[in-house]
Symmetry: C2
DNA sequence: CCGGATCCGCAGGGATACTG
DNA sequence: CAGTATCCCTGCGGATCCGG
């Protein structure tokens, strides 16, 4: 399911020049958004929901390996606040809450697609770089 | 300079099906890389170097607004270790150290390009979503 | 002087226990 | 089941010091 679907809106701008950010207020805003969005857990949750469509709390927790309940709740709430995720509570017992991407969240997950592809394509180069770095370190002359 | 240059390698795979990650070891590796790369400072440094080509420590510090010296050094060192950045020390007085992206780092910055475009395109929608969320909160019946 | 290492105070994240 | 509350500890930011 992790297919690199192209977001038409992004594709449309992909080969046109992006107006270089001039307005510092806009720049700060964009940087702020990057700050919230360029987060490990945000990205992994985004991916999990993009792959699975709709997930319940516990399902999401299982898909996003290693996340704590606190960070799952916290991150998903901020994503809801930012309009990336829709949270639906079914008032039954036992409780049933499911999460799904909004169109906005879906567009972001598509924007991140290139990064996933990059990671899948280049992870071996990173490992090589780390080994080379470690080798250089140990080979250094310690004055 | 923030142009959405297309990475040929990514573009080539963009419309083909990505082999769904099956090997859990690879998956863990990719998630690990995402964990390091999906970081606010990493992304902002990547962007600064992509825009400017080569920067000295202090220049980089000025381009990446709000970063502390500690996080700048720390992040840039990890990026060097992962092969994203090349760090060149000129042994002169006063010291002169400059940073530039490796081809690997450059390819990552291109992969992140879609996210920048997304942020620039949708930041107003996020703000609206936040206001709507706040309005819904204040309009709630508090039990 | 530049680049960065070090120390410290505090916020943020992890693990666990508890509740509607 | 889906969180909240609590404790604890890592990790970040800010200030200061240092080597070249």
């Amino acid at each position: 399911m992790r297919k690199p679907e192209a977001d038409p809106e992004i594709e449309a701008r992909r080969y046109g020049p992006i107006p270089d950010k001039i307005d510092p207020a806009i720049e700060a805003l964009v940087d702020d958004i990057i700050g919230k969005v360029a987060d490990k857990w945000t990205m992994l949750i985004l991916e999990a929901l993009h792959e699975n469509g709709t997930l319940r709390y516990t399902e999401l927790r299982r898909k996003v390996e290693g996340i704590s309940q606190k960070m799952l709740t916290q991150t998903v709430r901020r994503m809801e606040e930012d309009g990336l995720v829709r949270r639906t509570v079914h008032p039954i017992i036992p409780p049933h809450v499911d999460y799904t991407l909004t169109p906005l969240g879906d567009s972001l997950s598509k924007a991140f697609c290139g990064v996933w592809i990059w990671a899948e394509t280049h992870y071996d180069e990173i490992q090589q770089a780390r080994q080379a770095f470690a080798a250089a370190r140990s080979g250094e002359v310690h004055s």
